[in-house]
């Protein structure tokens, strides 16, 4: 074994703690980087990637089966501009009910023998299996089943068909082209059609050129021309699907990019700091090696080797760990984006390994070269402790602080190594920012969620539908549906209001009448809610302006203002049942019902305004469940029911919260490991001083207090920097998420931190620092005084 190898081996072996710390820090940092990079890759044009992964359909076309044949449709694949086609598939519209006879939103189902392998729209099976025989159904994975409810195994009945046949859900699948709500085997379709003319054919086309609406339209015209006139009944361009889908994914892109970037920056910072620190502590040893005849280049190579061995081990383990963590995270991003990413891209792993090793090499090279260039006598003299004179001013200042002396001694330590301390402050700041951001994002999302609830109890008419989102066939609609309602008489309304107001525990109520109006200068009908009662603003958060106070005033959401090119204070003309009403926009609320196009006003603004729904707020301490049960007998005679309003947490919020928690914990761990490494280095460097302190009578607890105090300053500074940075990040990201979805967010969604929380998060930096310092502090306390004193 050469002298150089022996030096490297003994260096790695003798400094076991440092070797383990380097390996551990690199491992976690690389894991965080793998995850961060994966998120960045996953967030890069997710729709386009998902579309490419599934060979998405540029045109989804529906045909009348009485006007064309299967052969003609197959031949349409030869139409000008068609690059590939799949189909024809028979389609049918079904109206299932669940096991409690509750109606489920209608579904367009397509008869297909297999999910993938198709030249166009290779559907991804996400759960269960594909349908293999009649009576089996695969449903689209679009969030219609809440995360806690398993779709596979659910049985639906088709009560409108002869014999009320059943369909058992055997799988869930994802189609980025949104070509169906469900799939059955082809031979099932005929049985699902209520008449011979029911349903039709579906063809899926990819065109040679489909980047613009004109190109897709040209393809559609070519297909139409190749078939009998009037055969094409409907079609959908992939550009429309992409536009619809981008609203949801746009919410996540800034959030995931922020975490990805945070992870990468922290990894660079911590790894650089750890390696530079490891080499600098070896300065005296470098002096000895040079005294023995090692050349500067041999010294540099020896220290490169010492840094690279644990770093390489840590990096490889980190890649493995990062890949393991990334798989469940990718499952979540697949759910969000509709992509089918199965693992971390190999180039991400390879690139990160190369980058980390290059970073380690560069950092170690710079630090070792500096040490290697030192004159031998100086290197020997430098020893372990920081140069005398550094941080003396801090020691002088802290000595005057009226705290126990071990604490004030520790507080001065970071100032002896200002560059290293600054790097640790930065690492803690990143960790504190990540935790603050994580909490803020969760609080903002909870506030967004709270805007969906307008009361504790709701009164409706008829039987309520539960759970499953409604929506147009084929086009996924993720909005929770309102209970089924029918208009009632004025007498009934008055009686219900009386029942509500006389019921014990009522805090306030709001009766809501629904209608449709048109807005001058805007095409299409919009839903308008006419409200009456004393708690009608409940749940609505104002972004600007105020809640309506009298008839003729309306409150709208940002998408309405954007679409109608109006602003708060403007007057618009509504047409309600043929009557024109001039109304003034007095407020902008956060309201995502009907894609933010819903209009809110006083009931008296509308021509007919009998409430169909009542939202009731109960007094503090009243159980909504018991309240609803007590109220129910009073309103049953009006064919009304009372139920608690249970909005539940949408899957998308659960996903964000889960991702946020995982990523924050990882970043906080990396920060704590950075602190651990610093304290290990500091303790090694100061071991002789430690021996002096102990010889003078410093007890183990006082030693621990001194070490903990030495990182508390960095923790406090990191928290003081990181917390505002986290708040700023949360505000920026949430604002961007709102902007991506087309909303101007109210202050209540952005301002989620109170002064107490800010102080607590500021102190979070100290928690990270203390957690990182505990282990080496214990080691310092246990160090034998005689051994420490012998360490020069």
């Amino acid at each position: 074994m050469s002298a150089l190898s022996r030096v490297v081996r003994s260096g790695v072996g003798r400094r076991r703690v440092q070797t383990v710390v380097i390996g551990l820090v690199v491992m976690i940092a690389v894991s965080a980087s793998v995850l961060g990079s994966t998120l960045l890759v996953a967030s890069n044009a997710p729709f386009d990637r998902a579309f490419a992964q599934q060979n998405g359909a540029h045109l989804t076309a529906y045909f009348d089966l009485t006007k064309t044949t299967s052969d003609q449709l197959t031949a349409s694949a030869q139409a000008t501009g068609v690059a590939a086609a799949t189909g024809p598939f028979r389609t049918a519209s079904i109206h299932p009910v669940d096991d409690k006879d509750q109606p489920i939103s209608p579904l367009t189902v397509v008869g297909r023998t297999a999910p993938d392998g198709a030249a166009v729209d290779a559907v991804t099976l996400t759960e269960g299996r594909w349908a293999t025989g009649p009576g089996e159904l695969v449903v689209v994975n679009d969030g219609r089943f809440p995360p806690h409810e398993r779709a596979v195994g659910t049985v639906w009945r088709l009560s409108d068909l002869p014999g009320s046949p059943t369909l058992t859900i055997v799988g869930e699948a994802r189609s980025i082209s949104a070509t169906a709500d469900g799939w059955v085997v082809p031979e099932q379709i005929a049985a699902l059609a209520t008449s011979k003319a029911d349903g039709g054919y579906q063809m899926l086309y990819r065109f040679a050129a489909a980047d613009t609406a004109a190109q897709v339209d040209a393809g559609r015209v070519a297909v139409e021309a190749a078939l009998p006139a009037g055969a094409l009944t409907a079609s959908r361009s992939w550009l429309t699907t992409r536009e619809d889908g981008s609203g949801d994914t746009a919410l996540f892109v800034p959030f995931l990019i922020a975490f990805g970037v945070l992870g990468l920056i922290m990894a660079v910072l911590i790894v650089g700091n750890v390696i530079a620190g490891a080499v600098s502590t070896g300065t005296r040893r470098i002096g000895i090696l040079k005294a023995l005849g090692f050349t500067p280049s041999q010294v540099v190579r020896a220290y490169l080797g010492q840094a690279l061995i644990p770093a390489l081990t840590g990096a490889v383990l980190g890649v493995i760990l990062g890949n393991a963590i990334a798989i469940p995270v990718l499952t979540l991003t697949n759910d969000i984006y509709g992509t089918s990413d199965s693992g971390v891209a190999p180039w991400v792993d390879a690139g990160l390994l190369a980058a980390v090793l290059a970073l380690v090499t560069a950092t170690a090279w710079v630090a070792a070269s500096r040490a290697g260039r030192l004159r031998t006598v100086d290197a020997l003299a430098v020893g372990r402790t920081p140069k005398a004179g550094r941080g003396q001013w801090a020691a002088r200042l802290t000595a005057r602080i009226p705290l126990p002396r071990p604490v004030t001694l520790g507080m001065a330590h970071p100032f002896a190594r200002p560059v290293r301390s600054a790097a640790i402050v930065a690492a803690i700041a990143f960790g504190a920012a990540a935790v603050t951001f994580s909490f803020g994002l969760a609080a903002s999302l909870a506030e967004v969620q709270a805007t969906a609830s307008h009361g504790d109890v709701v009164i409706g008419t008829g039987r309520p539908t539960q759970g499953t989102p409604g929506g147009d066939p084929v086009k996924a609609d993720r909005e929770p549906s309102r209970p089924v309602v029918t208009p009632r008489s004025a007498q009934d309304t008055a009686a219900i209001v009386k029942a509500i107001t006389t019921q014990a525990g009522t805090s306030g109520y709001c009766g809501v009448a629904q209608s449709e109006v048109t807005v001058a200068g805007f095409a299409g009908a919009l839903q308008i809610l006419g409200a009456t009662g004393n708690s009608c603003s409940s749940g609505y958060r104002m972004a600007s302006g105020s809640w309506f106070g009298k008839p003729g005033e309306i409150v709208v959401a940002t998408p309405f203002l954007t679409a109608t090119q109006t602003r708060v204070g403007d007057t618009v003309v509504l047409t309600d049942h043929g009557t024109q009403i001039a109304v003034r926009i007095v407020g902008e609320a956060f309201n995502d019902d009907h894609d933010g196009m819903q209009i809110l006003t006083a009931a008296k603004t509308l021509a007919t305004a009998e409430p169909e729904l009542f939202y009731i707020n109960v007094e503090h301490g009243t159980d909504p469940e018991a309240y609803a049960e007590a109220l129910e007998p009073e309103i049953q005679q009006f064919d009304a029911y009372a139920m608690t309003e249970n909005i539940g947490t949408p899957e998308i919020v659960l996903i964000i919260n889960a991702l946020t928690t995982v990523l924050s914990l990882m970043l906080a761990t990396v920060a704590a490991l950075g602190v651990l490494n610093m304290v290990v280095l500091e303790t090694r460097e100061r071991v002789h001083d430690l021996g002096i302190h102990k010889a003078l009578g410093m007890a183990p607890r006082q030693t621990i207090a001194m070490v903990i105090a030495s990182v508390s300053v960095a923790g406090l500074a990191g928290g003081a920097i990181g917390t505002p940075a986290g708040v700023l990040l949360q505000r920026t990201i949430v604002t961007e998420m709102g902007r991506g979805a087309g909303y101007h967010l109210p202050a209540s969604i952005l301002d989620v931190f109170g002064p107490v929380e800010l102080v607590l998060f500021g102190l979070g930096g100290i928690v990270i620092a203390v957690l990182g310092a505990l282990l080496p502090a214990g080691w310092a306390a246990r160090t034998r005084t005689a051994t420490a004193l012998r360490t020069e």
Partner: protein, 230 residues
């Protein structure tokens, strides 16, 4: 008969499988004695001093100092013991470079929990008594070797310990500074301070010690107290 201040009974200290650094050493030292421990390198001098200071624990036997069984103390207990009863002076001073002279001297007092002002008063008293009070605000790096050792002695005495332990107190000093330290130790002994010093320096032993113990291979080869008793 006065009770011994220090009593070592059959003390052995082994490191690993090799021969003992100290083997079956038994001795007593009375209050007010100034004892010099002599011997070649590896004879067990520093081991003996560390055992008395509670910095190390014997492999066998007992160490009792001023009524305290030092060999039975844990880490926290031995720290309290050192604060209360021991002052230590080292060959290379072991002053903390980032603290001023005054802060160095105050440190052992402050570790006992007394206020800064009380510690400061005590430190200035002892610095004054050792004639280095004019350097109170300076950092140790700016003092001469003799001055540094005076500061180290001041630090050792700030808690008014029953026992002063000195490990080669003149080993790192030039002859003028060495003389200065010898004079200081003589004065302290004259004031009744019990002192144990480990040294290679025969002139230090001869000028400052009332008794010398010579160690060879971890055993007491010569003890002038025993010689005179015979």
């Amino acid at each position: 008969m006065t009770l011994p201040m220090i009593e070592l009974r059959d003390v052995t200290r082994r490191y690993g499988d090799g021969p003992p650094a100290l083997g079956d050493v038994s001795l007593t030292i009375a209050a007010g004695e100034a004892v010099a421990i002599l011997g070649p390198s590896g004879s067990g001098k520093s081991t003996l001093l560390n055992l008395v200071a509670g910095l190390d624990r014997p492999s066998g036997g007992t160490v009792t100092v001023d009524g305290v069984r030092v060999d039975e103390l844990g880490e926290a207990g031995s720290a309290m013991y050192r604060r209360a009863k021991i002052g230590m002076v080292f060959q290379f001073f072991n002053l903390l470079d980032d603290l001023t002279v005054a802060d160095n001297v105050m440190l052992p007092a402050q570790l006992t929990g007394i206020s800064r002002s009380t510690a400061q008063r005590r430190a200035m008293d002892v610095l004054g008594a050792l004639r280095v009070d004019r350097h109170a605000a300076a950092y140790p790096g700016r003092l001469s070797g003799g001055e540094r050792q005076r500061v180290a002695v001041a630090r050792a005495l700030v808690n008014r310990p029953a026992l002063l332990l000195a490990d080669e107190p003149t080993g790192a000093l030039d002859s003028a500074s060495g003389e200065d330290v010898k004079q200081l130790l003589r004065e302290l002994h004259a004031d009744g301070q019990t002192i144990i010093m480990v040294t290679h320096d025969l002139s230090l032993a001869n000028s400052c010690a009332t008794r010398t113990i010579q160690l060879v291979d971890g055993r007491v080869a010569v003890d002038t107290a025993r010689e005179s008793a015979r």
